[in-house]
Amino acid sequence: MAESELSIFLLALLAGAIRVGTPFLFVSLGECLTEKGGRINLGLEGILVTGAMTGYAVSYLSGSPWLGVFAAGLSGLALGLVHGVICSLPRVNDIAFGIALILFGTGLAFFLGKDFIQPSAPMLPSIPLGFWSDDTRVRSALNVNVLFFIGVALAFVLHWSLRGTRWGLMLRLVGDHEDSAQALGYRAAGVRIVATGVGGFLAGVGGAYLSLYYPGSWNEGLSSGQGLMAVALVIFARWQPINCLWAALLFGAAGAVGPALQAIGIGWGYYLFNAIPYVLTLAVMVITCRPDRTLSGAPGELSLNR
């Protein structure tokens, strides 16, 4: 491999880490919040797709991509609340309900989104951080979307508020030990419903990023399981929002290996390279999980650990 090819490859990898990693960041922050409360929401995958469709449709109809992002968040909030409320009923399995929500969310998005596959909606703006370079490749690689910075800020804010605010402590208490929370007079179900709803909002925003920035169109094959990989990503990040940021970047880079190889003319094994994020996720879980003990940092009430 020539030196220029290597630098192109690494540049594509760096750009991909941010570009592909941003939706991972939002969905994993949402899942992190949900799991901190002691619930697991596999339905974020369905919410992601619904958010992508809603964001694209609203952006197209209103002409404002930011309104689209907000609407996508609201659609995620609604579906997240459904998950939160119904899983508060006795004997309802949150993992199974997540699978149902994947079916429903994707069905809803495909049904309502049929009319929006053709038209092109206004896209989200990006910040040209590569203005100093003459190389067009460097400039396009450093075109970073605003949502990425919002996501990074959010990771730090969440990290701080889970430790330093009344709200964050209450959420963690509910997720770690429901009985203690109840003894203090907090209603666990209510806290979890709110956490799942807010988590859904974030996943919806992540979906809007997919349709309104990268890949930047609405079609039925838009999501490739990011919502589900986020669940594994949160385990990898040990339920820490800051770690979610690093994990999202890592997964973004892994997802960019296939396209980056294509950029330097290696077309062999396209599907195999695209499966790297899944292999990476599995490898991470095999390395970090142990059958005889729960992971450090895992919320105590999480059904994943029982």
Binding site: F97, F111, Y278, V286
Partner: protein
């Protein structure tokens, strides 16, 4: 005075109450959804029925779809007996299909029957290994089986696409990449010309019945009930928990792999991306709707097969998108799980009915008071 036999009937019917209520609310919500869209909801209901069970052709279409669903549902239901939620059936199905498609290429020419058996074994091995790996990762490494099986399923789909569009591709398959077509002698036909459904249906029903016998009457099935109920008790009894869990995963995966074999040899004629059509995902719904009971799976697979079969009719007559049946499935799944919350109540009601309706009029009222308390 109310008749005691009515009370007994009510006691027997009560366990079905959550499922019936779920179907009712699904219908109501689906009609509401269509009305909000401004769609002719009142025509859609009868059309779903017509497209599913309205004619001989509809029945054939329905049963053709139900056959793989029975097998992929077992891929969820059998591990669920041991307390695992496995959702990677799609991957086992496509790998099974691929294994079946390449077996005749790699084996010397054989008569039809031995070759079909070899194809079936290859398919079941591929599927069983794949889901077995999920179970092994869960028992030995502590990797959550739901996420693990799904990741493995994505990896299986990637391997499948890579092989079908790359090394195993038939150069003659131009616009639809696929493996070389099966020799016509190795293709599985229909049951009869007047009943145009392939033999996969029989395989599905027989496998479900066998699975039912296994979980209901065998020692393995009894042990599974203990393993699925509580993680500590079976260890105290000295049951081989890991082996039992692994067995359910391998058997479930083998069933899904077999579904892939029938899709290849009875429907597609070769392994191509048309195999990735969501049978694995729909199988999850079937298994949960049947509460992981293998006999219930037969019924639920036919119902869901009908639902999917009616999609074409909805598309042609009403111009509804093909995602309509997906929404309907989603609403149904949500309702089935949500009404599950009622089961605790139905147990109370059963006891109450036993105490007040059936036994109270008789002279044994005193004894029921005791048992009630």
């Amino acid at each position: 005075m109310l008749k005691p036999w009515l009370g007994r009937a009510a006691v027997l019917a009560l366990p079905a109450l959550p499922t019936l209520l779920a179907m009712l609310t699904t219908a109501v919500l689906f009609i509401l959804f269509l009305l909000i869209q401004g769609q002719p909801a009142w025509q859609a209901g009868p059309l779903v029925f017509e497209g599913a069970f309205g004619s001989m052709f509809a029945w054939e279409n329905t049963l053709m779809r139900a056959a793989p669903l029975m097998l992929t549902a077992l891929c969820v239901a059998l591990p669920a007996r041991a307390g695992l939620i496995i959702i990677g059936g799609e991957g086992a199905l496509v790998l099974g299909g691929l294994a079946a498609a390449v077996t005749p290429l790699w084996l010397p020419a054989l008569p039809a029957w031995p070759m079909l058996i070899a194809m079936g074994v290859a398919a079941m091995l591929a599927g069983g290994l794949w889901i077995g790996l999920s179970g092994w990762l869960r028992q030995k490494r502590g990797v959550n089986e739901t996420i693990g099986s799904l990741l493995l399923s994505y990896i299986a789909l990637a391997i499948f696409r890579h092989l079908v569009e790359g090394p195993l591709r038939d150069p003659n398959s131009l616009n639809k990449p696929s493996t070389p077509p099966l020799d016509s002698g190795y293709q599985i036909g229909v049951i009869s010309d007047s009943f145009y459904v392939h033999w996969g249906l029989v395989a599905g029903v027989v496998t479900c019945v066998l699975a039912w016998v296994l979980v209901r009457y065998s020692v393995v099935g009894f042990s599974l009930r203990i393993v699925g109920g509580n993680p500590r008790t079976p260890r105290m009894l000295g049951l081989p928990v890991d082996r039992l869990v692994l067995l359910t995963c391998v058997l479930g995966g083998a069933a899904a792999g077999l579904a892939g074999m029938y899709e290849v040899s009875a429907v597609q004629g070769s392994a191509n991306t048309a195999l990735i059509s969501g049978y694995g995902t729909a199988g999850i719904l079937v298994a949960f709707a049947a509460r992981h009971n293998p006999l219930g799976i037969i019924v639920c697979a036919i119902l869901l097969g009908g639902l999917e079969a009616s999609g074409g009719l909805l598309q042609r007559r009403l111009g509804l998108p093909d995602a309509t049946t997906l929404i309907l499935q989603g609403i149904l799944f949500i309702n089935l799980l949500a009404w599950e919350a009622l089961t605790r109540r139905t147990l109370d009601w059963r006891l109450w009915l036993r105490g007040h309706w059936i036994a109270a009029p008789s002279s044994r009222a005193g004894s029921t008071e005791v048992s009630h308390g």
